[in-house]
């Protein structure tokens, strides 16, 4: 069996590792357009912000390919698929036969057709990232066009490098696909506090020497302009080969295109009408495709989307259908804008279908898992939003504690036993310890025992 993989990004490289983990024998050839080894795109924002080094985003060491008997061809773009003879053909004329072919061609940054856009740098690849960092070193002001996830991460990262940044966004609030209006506004306020000027509801009409010209003629000054205007699936190769392409390359639940020997995964694939732009779905697809390719059973049923902003001092998690209102679903909401806190749960049929958590929250892990698993939402909604709220510690003051309360765990001594011991004449911790062994294990109940003895002594004083 000869497997050829076109694309060595997050989806393609993952697929190769997954297939190799399942089948040590299969002949695997992977083509990558970028000349370097694969890297984790998710971490590019950290690189831009300076919180990850470029070498930390590499997904595989160069030696991995030899060690795992995978042929990797870098810097050689596949230009053509010959489905009749089952070959891929590279731009330099090389023909590679396949039995199974996986397309993992990813997506390209959308570059808006405005004058001077060539002066701007898209934020998409590791090379882009390094270009932006170099430019930021000498720039005085930056503009980021696009207030989605990547744009915000880029703007925050540049601001963190000490650069004044303006973020331009066409929609009325930031991350409008993931957030409701209020959350978008609170996020904007948080970012403003971190040195990112937010301009929503504005369009860029051109990129000029001195900055970005807005639709209304205003010039927003900048000597570094970063584009984060979304991505577009790379589907040309598939379309030229006659495979069904809508927004992405259309695949079924086995990730097969309409040619059963050709698969597509990741950002170039369209499953059940959805093209995913996040890494988690791409990796879920890679695992299923690897199962199918190696002769196992696997079905992909779509992914639940969890968006987690990676920007220093901005904690944001958004998942599912966050925009639903009271008329469509049960909504639990807490807002405290002065602190940059906004929390929203959207519940339908007793299941969690949407979440926004803005501002640091211990609830994020629990809620993400509850959303992922689709399990029933507990009756205590407030407890979900505010972990710890419902579990106020039981009063351990000596007066309020019932006699049956266990004071010393290690030696199973109750308050009642300590009281009895006191009544029998013990007046300090040492005497209580001698009689009951309380405090002689881990020793952490010493203060509590002292408190009880002290309180009993006080009581005695009062009653005398």
């Amino acid at each position: 069996m000869r497997l050829v993989v076109v694309g060595n990004g997050m989806a393609g490289s993952r697929l190769v590792s997954e297939v190799r983990a399942r089948d040590p024998q299969m002949r695997i050839t992977v083509f990558g357009a970028e000349t370097c080894r694969p890297y984790n795109r998710v971490l590019l924002s950290n690189v831009l912000a300076g919180s990850s080094r470029p070498e930390q985003v590499r997904l595989l060491d160069p030696s991995w390919y030899d060690a795992h008997n995978v042929r990797a061809v870098f810097g050689s773009a596949v230009a053509h698929i010959d489905r009749e003879t089952r070959h891929v053909v590279t731009a330099d004329g090389r023909r590679e036969p396949y039995d199974l072919l996986v397309l993992a061609t990813g997506s390209d940054a959308v570059v808006p057709p405005i004058p001077g856009v060539g002066r701007a740098v898209p934020f998409r690849t590791l090379d882009d990232c390094e270009r932006i960092i170099r430019a930021a070193g000498s720039a005085r002001r930056a503009v980021v066009i696009g207030g989605g996830l990547l744009g915000i991460e880029a703007a925050r990262g540049l601001a963190g490098r000490g650069l004044p940044v303006t973020l331009l966004h066409l929609a009325g609030h930031l991350m409008e696909r993931q957030l409701d209006v209020e959350a978008g506004e609170v996020l904007g306020e948080t970012l403003s506090g971190l040195g990112v000027e937010i301009r929503t509801g504005v369009s860029a009409s051109g990129v000029e020497e001195d900055g970005v010209r807005l639709g209304d003629g205003e010039l927003v000054e900048a000597d570094l302009v970063v584009l984060a205007c979304g991505v577009r699936p790379v589907t040309g190769l598939a379309a030229d080969a006659g495979l069904e392409v809508r927004r992405g390359v259309v695949v079924d639940d086995e990730l097969r295109t309409d040619d059963p020997s050709v698969f597509a995964i990741g950002e170039c694939a369209e499953h059940d009408g959805v093209v995913y732009g996040l890494v988690a779905p791409a990796w879920e697809q890679a695992a299923v495709a690897a199962d199918v390719i190696t002769g196992g059973k696997g079905l992909y049923r779509g992914s639940r989307l969890v968006t987690r902003l990676k920007a220093k001092s901005v904690e944001l998690a958004a998942m599912g259908e966050t925009q639903l209102g009271e008329e469509q679903a049960e909504v639990v909401r807490f807002s405290h804008r002065a602190r940059g806190t906004y929390r929203k749960l959207v519940i339908r049929d007793g299941r969690l279908v949407g979440v926004i958590l803005l501002g640091e929250s211990d609830a994020v892990g629990t809620l993400t898992q509850l959303f992922d698993r689709g399990g029933p939402v507990p009756g205590d909604r407030a407890g979900l939003l505010f972990p710890g709220l419902s579990s106020a510690p039981v009063a351990d003051s000596p007066t309020l504690m019932p006699d049956a309360a266990r004071v010393c765990q290690c030696n199973n001594v109750t308050k009642g036993q300590i009281r009895a011991c006191w009544e029998a004449g013990a007046r300090d911790v040492a005497a209580v310890a001698l009689a009951t062994r309380a405090t002689t294990g881990c020793g952490t109940c010493r203060d509590a025992v002292e408190g009880i003895v002290g309180w009993l002594c006080e009581q005695e004083g009062v009653s005398v």
Partner: protein, 676 residues
């Protein structure tokens, strides 16, 4: 029962802390102050009440053959005849031996020698496989040697930060907590345990995700520039590959897998890295998984990246559980091992032992089955048909216990040595009543790697013999002469361990008594012992510690529609292991009378379960009943059951770690219902 007139200095019969203890006239128990583990005079309730083990009326004092009292010669003759017959008909591997981590070093050594020399079987393993094997495998992989905590416990007193991954020392070994009084404590546990309640920071991951959490912590350490590059360059190898492998474990992904918020992970890593004196410890919570070895490796990788191991004042250690869990894994009752922590497939090791044992090296069998695989094979066409069981109660303590009971039931011959009628002894063809703890002498190696001396304090009851006597009695009937005096066995063990990683050759009973314990390796009589073995070099030939890249994967069994809840298992303070001892002590039974299921109020509400209800918990392997305890100390998706009673381990999953062969005790999928 007669006690001696003066107090005898010895150690507690239970956990690996091996608290120093005095047994005085009238079996009065008190703490010693010369043993560092509990030098402040601490004991837990188990320790204080240990004297009742000696006076317990339900003590076995007569050999039983098919339930009938017989004298020793009849019993031993019968066993020896049957063993010889089974071996003659089916070959030496038809006879198996199963040991325990509570046995003294002398017994562990003798048992391993008995299996290899007198029985000629490769089929020997022990319950420590269920306990320490993952930590042991990971430590050997990283450091070239496994000495649980490679530093004295008192070093922890001076620490600034201690992270405990999957350990509940406040319940399992309470006096340990006194060494955590100073440091900031970080606890990783799916439950807010007594230990987690003491913590400065508690990370509460999904069961089975500790490995992902450790990867996330190391990812953050690298991202935040907290790696001790100088140490990594000077003292380790393999970091680059680990660094690359971590790029697919960014914190937000780890958060989604574990449920631990990113900001808590960051808080933990920064605390560990910000100070000079930090320790990372692992317990069974991280280790008892089908990926336990890799999980421990991930925590060791974190410790290495932060530059902790092999320095005075910081380090990595595992918190050994059973009383002789350390020594028990060193002297040859493990399927793949020879005394001195040698490997059984190492020709030099075989030559050395052949010399000590007076047999040709080629007569020493090769590696046998691991504990669960051994139990799983009992009574099958290719498996053992006879089993000799020492110091273990697998009917309660092995995973998939119903299956294990069926396998044990299929044996032609089961012989148990015990001092109480445990659940497994109750199934035996022959039960041999043996001495315990204060009735015999021997050495124990505690969780620090400190070799300690347990002294005989009382005369054993009429009719019982020590395990060493039983082993020698059987060996003699099979034509071999074995020592029965603990000191003589220890002398042989010293020679057998000489030159091995766990070298005891310089240790004597006298030295232990005079020095309140000696740390191994101690290769010569004049050698002071080695409290901190890695200060200058690690035990790999190049002296460096090894990073090994590891990847997280899901639990062997994840919840689904039929079994929607995670089960985790563990201990309670009042009981020890399978409870065979502690369930017979009245104050301990009063403190913890019955098995329970701990569940979160939200889960209880969904399942219509109230506190005190009897609950049926079922898995693909069996079911158990227990009383509901409702507590928000546990995650909503998880229930907890203690494993000291029959029940919990009927449910657990025998999926094995590929390296350590550790079963996945700590996570499986169950259904929970109110029992109507």
């Amino acid at each position: 029962m007669p006690g001696s007139d003066v107090a005898t200095k010895t150690h507690c019969p239970y956990c690996a802390l091996q608290c120093g203890m005095e047994i005085g006239p009238g079996l009065a128990i008190g703490p010693r102050t010369d043993i560092p583990a509990n030098a402040s005079g601490a004991l837990c309730q188990k320790g204080w009440t240990a004297g009742e083990l000696l006076t317990n009326g339900r003590r076995l004092t007569t050999p039983l053959l098919h339930g009938e009292a017989v004298d020793w010669d009849v019993a031993l003759d019968h066993v020896a005849d049957r063993l010889a017959a089974i071996r003659a008909e089916h070959g030496p591997d038809a006879v198996a031996v199963f040991g325990g981590g509570g046995l003294t070093n002398e017994k562990a050594y003798s048992l391993g020698k008995f299996a290899r020399v007198a029985l000629g079987t490769s089929q020997i393993d022990y319950n420590g496989r269920f306990c320490m094997s993952s930590a042991a495998a990971a430590s050997i992989r990283a450091f070239g040697m496994d000495r649980g905590m490679p530093f004295p416990i008192t070093d922890l007193d001076e620490a600034d930060v201690v992270l405990i991954a999957g350990g509940n020392v406040a319940e399992t070994m309470p006096p340990f907590v006194r060494h955590l009084d100073g440091p900031r404590l970080i606890v990783i546990d799916p439950r807010r345990t007594q230990t987690a309640k003491l913590a400065w920071l508690h990370l509460q991951p999904t069961p089975g995700t500790d490995l992902a959490l450790a990867l996330g912590l190391l990812h953050l350490a690298i991202a935040d520039d907290l790696v001790d590059e100088e140490y990594v360059a000077a003292r380790t190898t393999g970091f680059d590959e680990v660094r690359t492998s971590l790029s697919s474990w960014w914190p937000e992904r780890v958060e989604r897998v574990t449920g631990v918020p990113v900001h808590q992970m960051r808080q933990a890593v920064r605390a560990l890295a910000a100070v000079g004196k930090a320790y990372i410890l692992t317990g069974r919570g991280a280790e008892q998984h089908a990926k336990g070895t890799d999980t421990v490796t991930a925590f060791i990788n974190l410790a290495l990246a932060l530059g902790l191991p092999g320095r005075h004042g910081s380090g990595y250690g595992c918190v050994t559980g059973q009383g002789n869990g350390q020594g028990g894994r060193e002297h040859g009752q493990k399927a793949d091992q020879l005394p001195g922590y040698r490997k059984i497939d190492d020709p030099a090791a075989r030559e050395h032992l052949a010399g000590i044992w007076g047999i040709p090296a080629e007569d020493i069998p090769g590696p046998g089955r691991s504990a669960y695989e051994l139990l799983d094979a009992l009574g099958t066409p290719d498996g053992p048909r006879a089993l000799l069981l020492f110091g273990s109660n697998p009917i309660v303590s092995a995973p998939a216990a119903d299956h294990v009971a069926a396998r044990i039931g299929a044996l032609d011959l089961l012989v148990t040595c015990d001092f109480v009628m445990s659940e497994t002894a109750a199934m035996a063809d022959v039960v041999l009543p043996v001495t315990q703890w204060a009735e015999e002498s021997g050495t124990m190696t505690n969780l620090e790697g400190r070799v300690l001396l347990r002294r005989r304090a009382v005369t054993p009851p009429e009719g019982v013999r020590s395990d060493l006597d039983v082993i020698a009695g059987l060996a003699g009937r099979l034509g071999h002469t074995f020592e029965t005096d603990p000191a003589a066995v220890f002398d042989e063990l010293r020679r057998a361990s000489q030159g091995g990683p766990a070298d005891y050759s310089g240790i004597t009973y006298e030295r232990i008594a005079n020095e309140t314990g000696v740390f191994w390796p101690c290769p010569a009589p004049g050698h002071p012992g080695t409290p901190r073995p890695f200060l200058d070099r690690f035990a790999h030939p190049d002296g460096r510690a090894r990073f090994t890249p590891v990847q997280h994967r899901p639990a062997a069994e994840e919840p689904d529609a039929d079994y929607p809840v995670y089960l985790s298992t563990g201990r309670v303070l009042a009981h020890y292991q399978s409870g065979a001892q502690t369930r017979r002590i009245a104050p301990l039974v009063e403190a913890a009378p019955e098995p329970f299921v701990e569940l979160h109020p939200d889960l209880a509400e969904q399942l219509d379960i109230a506190a005190g209800d009897v609950v049926r918990v079922s898995s693909r392997r069996g079911e158990g009943r227990a009383v509901a305890r409702i507590s928000d100390a546990i995650r909503r998706d998880t229930v907890f059951m203690p494993f000291h009673w029959e029940g919990a381990n009927r449910l657990t999953n025998p999926a094995l770690d590929p390296t350590s062969r550790m079963p996945e005790f700590k996570v499986c999928a169950v259904r929970v219902e109110r029992d109507s």
